[in-house]
């Protein structure tokens, strides 16, 4: 019997000749060009060398002194010569990979890869069941982690909280305790001080199965902050040194407000933010060359009418993009901010602010983009706002992919086959491509009037609420083993005992 071989998988090589073709695989966007980046970077170096900074940590000051920095007589004010900064940037890794809880490498913080997630340390929460604004509790963090775990476009978890219903000095520890058990996605989190940070890292090590295991496949990134402009508290620097020593990824995040803690210009504000975050990078590299470090922050303006720190201004969007351009020029992974708003309730303004900040952040390609679901200028969190952000990120990601131009995408064969007056609905080409070329929303309305009316005339807000509640009811995050949960409980108990002393 003659066997006829039909290898359906064999795709023929495209033998048409096209030379020197360059395609855009995504949308192109840049705020600062090479020359502007260089000018800003030199300005940053000048501030570090000439203005200097206050470092309230003796150990760090000694590290800097030994590296050739100038320490003034107060033992706090340090000026960092340019060569020290350059050396630190050179030893800092250009890429960091965050894994999920199962050690699968997920977030490649390099080039323009943009990943989104919520933010930290909000004091209030909008109750998903009652709509009431109230102090945030541990159960909200549990719910946030669960929703993050389920949402397709949210890449990492943050707590959206500084919880109120526990020993107040251990809010950070309790939040990690809740997040680690309710999501496998990488966790970005914060700590009050070195002791709490140590407990938190031990919790991650328990889950990873050891110190080295966590270093090799970290599912944690620690977020800490200098006090802009140019002040570095003992706690902030102490945490920074701890993490550098551990070789675990951290981001050191100034929150600059143009006109208040930064100059009333966009470039000047970007410079102040960059000086603060780079000071952290220098200290980390002096402690442990090669320690993973992420630069960036919350770069915004103070509203001169209300004095709030803006979380949804157009300058917020463009200054973050400029900051990302600058750190990309320096080949350092970047931290950025988007998906947040100054609106106090879930309304149209949330949609406007989220859409504009997310779109700009995605265009600029910051690596870790946080604060999705933030409202009221960083005072209140909302699961509905988080779900809205997820939808907008999905939409924006589809735009980022641009327009594919190749033989299949040009579709000449199918266009010819269908011809005038025909239709493409029934074509294999349609079936093969409609899902990969077009994005489909979960909550965005696309029904016609009758269908919308018949399905309950729901507003967008109501649909977000339904989605959040549905996830909470139905989604089952992968569980940790009882043994690991017990070890996490013990670590929390030990921290409680330490605090009671």
């Amino acid at each position: 019997m003659a066997i006829k071989r039909r290898n359906k998988r064999a795709v023929k090589l495209d033998d048409s000749i096209r030379t020197n073709q360059v395609s855009n695989n995504s949308i192109q966007f840049r705020v600062l060009n090479e020359n502007q980046c260089e000018r800003l970077y030199n300005a940053v170096l000048e501030v570090m060398e000439n203005v200097g900074m206050q470092i309230h940590h003796k150990g760090a000051v000694e590290l800097l002194r030994n590296a050739g920095c100038w320490v003034e007589d107060d033992g706090i004010t340090v000026k960092i010569p340019s060569h020290v900064v350059k050396k630190a940037i050179a030893s800092s890794p250009s890429r960091i990979v965050l894994s999920n809880r199962n050690k699968k490498r997920k977030l490649f913080l390099e080039r323009n890869n943009a990943y989104f997630g919520p933010g930290p340390t909000l004091l209030n929460f909008i109750d998903v069941n009652t709509g009431e604004r109230r102090p945030v509790v541990k159960n909200d963090v549990l719910n946030t982690a669960k929703v993050v775990d389920a949402l397709p476009n949210i890449d990492f978890c943050m707590s959206l909280a500084n919880i109120s219903d526990c020993t107040s000095d251990l809010a950070d520890v309790h939040e990690v305790h809740a997040m680690l058990q309710n999501t496998t996605k990488p966790i970005v989190t914060w700590a009050f001080d070195r002791d709490n940070l140590d407990t938190i890292i031990k919790m991650f090590e328990v889950v990873a199965g050891g110190e080295k295991e966590l270093q090799m496949n970290p599912n944690v990134l620690i977020y800490s902050e200098p006090t802009t402009p140019f002040v570095h508290t003992y706690e902030a620097v102490d945490k920074l040194l701890y993490l550098a020593e551990k070789g675990l990824p951290q981001n050191y995040t100034p929150a600059v407000q143009a006109g208040a803690t930064g100059p009333a210009t966009r470039a000047g504000t970007v410079i102040v933010g960059a000086v603060d975050t780079l000071a952290g990078l220098v200290i980390s590299q002096l402690k442990n060359p090669g320690a993973p470090f992420i630069c960036g922050g919350v770069i915004t303006n103070m509203d001169m009418k209300t004095t709030v720190m803006c979380y949804g201004s157009p300058e917020f969007a463009v200054m973050h993009a400029a900051t990302v351009d600058l750190f990309k020029y320096l080949n350092i992974p970047t931290f950025s901010t988007a998906g947040c708003t100054d609106s106090c309730i879930l309304d149209e303004q949330v949609g406007i602010d989220q859409a504009i900040t997310i779109y700009t952040a995605a265009l600029s390609g910051g690596n870790i983009i946080h604060d999705v679901g933030y409202m009221d200028g960083g005072m209140v969190g909302s699961l509905e706002a988080l779900c809205m952000g997820d939808e907008i990120i999905g939409e924006v990601r589809s735009i980022m992919r641009g327009v594919r131009v190749d033989d299949e995408a040009l579709g000449l064969d199918v266009i010819e086959k269908v011809g005038p007056g025909g239709h493409f609905l029934n074509e294999k080409h349609t079936m093969d491509n409609f899902r990969k070329e077009f994005w489909y929303p979960e909550t965005i309305e696309r029904s016609n009037y009758e269908d919308w009316k018949n399905s309950g005339s729901l507003t967008y807000r109501q649909k977000l609420n339904i989605r959040a509640k549905k996830i909470l009811e139905e989604h089952q995050p992968q569980k940790l083993t009882d043994d690991i949960i017990e070890q996490l409980d013990i670590l929390v108990e030990e921290a409680e005992k330490r605090c009671k002393k």
Binding site: G421, L425, N426, M431, F434, R435, Y440, E450, D451
Partner: protein
């Protein structure tokens, strides 16, 4: 036995034409009745597809691929069927109203109706009322379907219905209409039935047919 029917239904839902073909052949070889292969396998799968589409869990191209897969199975079974084994869901004559060349919505409805077992005769676009009357006389359908995309072509649908009445044809069939400017209210005014999307159109057609059978 029933497991094979389930597999057939599943292959229809997944739009796997080759798989449907193989499974249906296997069922025939095992001596299963053609009528049961259709009713317990192919149709069960297609009904599930309709349900999934209605709930936004399946997309139009996937529905059409499933219907192609079902038809692959039907082709094998059909020659083995006895008279009266399978009844068409109904017969329909469809047209885009006079003066109107927009027909993507109508095409979609026709494909969905065919997937649901209807025989549909499509008269095309810009069809005059007289031509529709002619086709009704010739094909004797249960349903006349008309679509219009422009407010200016809607009156042609009204004219057609009046002509059906004049020719004593209106009593033997049901008229369904659709299109962007068409409303439930307009349909009521001209003695037609209205649906606002493709899957609603299938439900409407099924309802109209069962009304007629009840009479």
């Amino acid at each position: 036995m029933s497991e094979l029917y389930e597999q057939i239904a599943e292959s229809v839902v997944n739009g796997m034409a080759d798989e449907v073909e193989n499974l249906v052949q296997k069922a025939i070889n095992q001596g299963m009745k053609p009528k049961e292969i259709i009713n317990n396998g192919l149709i069960v799968g297609m009904n599930e597809v309709g349900e999934l589409f209605k709930n936004f869990e399946m997309f139009v191209p996937e529905v059409l691929i499933s219907s192609q897969a079902m038809n692959k199975g039907m082709e094998i079974v059909k020659p083995l069927l006895k008279e009266g084994d399978v009844q068409k869901a109904g017969k329909a004559v469809f047209a885009t109203a006079r003066g109107d060349l927009h027909d993507i919505g109508k095409k979609l409805v026709i494909m969905m109706m065919e997937s649901s077992g209807y025989e549909v005769i499509d008269l095309g676009v810009d069809v005059k009322p007289e031509e529709i009357i002619q086709a009704v006389k010739e094909h004797n359908p249960n349903i006349v379907g008309m679509s219009s995309m422009l407010t200016t072509t809607m009156p042609a649908m009204k004219e057609t219905i009046e002509l059906l009445k004049e020719n004593d044809l209106y009593g033997n069939l049901k008229v369904m209409i659709g299109g962007a400017p068409v409303t439930e209210k307009y349909a009521d005014e001209i003695d037609a039935s209205y649906s606002n999307n493709a899957s609603a159109a299938i439900e409407l057609a099924n309802r109209l047919i069962s009304c007629m059978q009840a009479v």
